[in-house]
Symmetry: C2
Subunit: 321 residues, 2 copies
């Protein structure tokens, strides 16, 4: 049996992480954006790791070396921000082909350091070795005040489902590149930027559940529902799109809201908000949109489009697609 036959990446994760660790300090292990670790009286440690592989997470044909460095850092910072936390210390591991140029590495690190500086992250250590293809891993440690940690599991029926910024921009850029167009809106794909910790923390003070968009809105809402034991309705027409994303989708005859639902790596924040917190949060963080509502579990998870209720597809899986 191979991984696709088992059911793909998520099935594999469930299989190998079934062993409870028995450590009472582990508040949250697998199943959220970060691990949440009990360490001091008033703060949790947060730890996340992300591995990126050449031609799967980035392409040397499309991405410049600094773009690869920035994407790796933004993807990890996004996980810390989605918990309501502050990123602190990063550790980079690289497997490099033997013919990798020093210029490439210098430029990769330049991007990595730029993104680290944007988020006040210290790049502290790492490991470098040789491999047949370029493989990058970033481990990122941060922390959060205990009362502000936001898990996927705290959504409740009646909460508004909200999303920061606009969605679908990463998938739109990828589709343009796949169709051979290098003149459209590529930045959403090549230069994704996650939300800053101060934005995530402002949201965390009012929201109940939070997650970042790494596999598409549909996948993230499903994760929240699974962990919270709820259902959800996503209102298709309300999904926020930028004019650049709409134009890019039109150029390749695609549907930008499908990109938002099922594309990956927009690194925006999806959160659930008690309705009475909406006005107050709009004054603090104007850049978010209500895209649906958390329902009771028995109502299911679905998309409402033109008055019809449609089932959600699943998110991206490295092994089954």
């Amino acid at each position: 049996m191979n991984i696709a036959e088992l059911g793909g990446e998520f099935a594999l994760i469930k299989r190998v992480t079934g062993i409870p660790c028995g450590d009472p300090a582990v508040v949250k292990g697998v199943g959220d954006d970060c691990a949440v670790l009990e360490y001091t009286a008033d703060r949790y440690l947060l730890v996340t790791v992300d591995m990126m592989v050449e031609n799967s997470h980035f392409s040397l044909e499309w991405h410049s070396p600094p773009q690869i460095g920035r994407k790796l850092m933004e993807a990890n910072v996004s996980d810390i921000v989605a918990m309501g936390g502050t990123p602190r210390w990063a550790f980079i591991s690289l497997a490099l082909p033997g013919d990798t140029s020093v210029a490439f590495i210098d430029e990769f690190y330049r991007g990595l350091y730029e993104s680290a500086a944007r988020h006040a992250v210290a790049l502290v250590g790492g490991d470098t070795t040789r491999g047949r293809e370029l493989v990058l891993n970033l481990a990122l440690v941060g922390d959060v005040e205990k009362e502000y940690v936001r898990l996927r599991s705290h959504a409740g029926p009646g909460d508004l489902i909200c999303v920061t910024g606009t969605l679908g921009k990463s998938e739109a850029g990828l589709r343009l590149l796949q169709s051979g167009r290098k003149d459209g809106y590529l930045a959403g794909y090549l230069e994704p930027r996650c939300r800053r910790a101060d934005e995530g923390r402002a949201i965390a003070r009012r929201a109940r559940a939070m997650i970042d968009v790494s596999d598409g809105l549909g996948s993230e809402v499903t994760h929240i529902c699974e962990e919270s034991g709820t259902g959800a309705r996503i209102d298709y027409g309300t999904i926020p799109l930028s004019s650049e994303t709409i134009e890019a989708a039109r150029a390749v005859s695609g549907d930008p809201r499908e990109y938002a639902l099922y594309g990956g790596e927009d690194f925006e924040l999806v959160f659930t908000l008690p309705p009475d917190q909406r006005e107050a949060l709009l004054h603090e963080i104007p850049d978010f949109t209500v895209v649906g509502e958390i329902l009771k579990k028995e109502e299911g998870i679905f998309i409402r489009k033109d008055g019809r209720d449609l089932a959600l597809e699943q998110g991206y899986d490295h092994f089954t697609k």
Copy 2:
């Protein structure tokens, strides 16, 4: 210019980590077994990452899947133990070829969990993705009381250079396998075991500088001298060897002390000890040997063999060898 032309792995690390991070919480970044981070009043956080690549750090022909899992964990725990610390939480990232069997992954995790249990480490989270070859990364977080952290940089002239257990066993097993013999002493290579945290901590209470043996005694003593600003004499005849290692070396016409000096991954501890602490430590940790002495910097770093002083070669480099 490629990495070998730059001067290899250590030259590369020096080049890309030249940017000071400016974070006062970073007590030690690059240049020791772990990063040392200021976090609470009485303890430092310790973080280490290790990346292992198929056919470079392990061979699917020689290693069983549980052996790969155990080696990855032992290598990382060794870094925490070498600081005088206690390992706590591990995060595994895997790049897996698409045809990887679920049985392989189950067995790999079995080894990983076995080693984690031996060291009371909780395997908390991770990332799984697809790659052309098997690449593994472990990030490990631990901690240490501030007064017991042991850096490479604290050796002083007159300190005894000591090593736990025996050396050369990993290289001896590798040489046997390379020569096609699968019936000799292979465990030192296939099943390396690092020291337990309680041993490292007993040593840390009396020693001044400490490092684990991942690149051979010669390389580790050189690291201590560089970081401490000292010289060193290694007494060739005193390097501790097991009878299995001697026998394995004889079978392939090799010199086991060369393996000890220049082979990698024995995961024993090298530490420098004020002479007046020797007796007391022997009562607590009988399993160590004095192999030399820390000298003043101007005396140089050398091996004394049969009354002659010989220069040290350098350790293993993934890019230049």
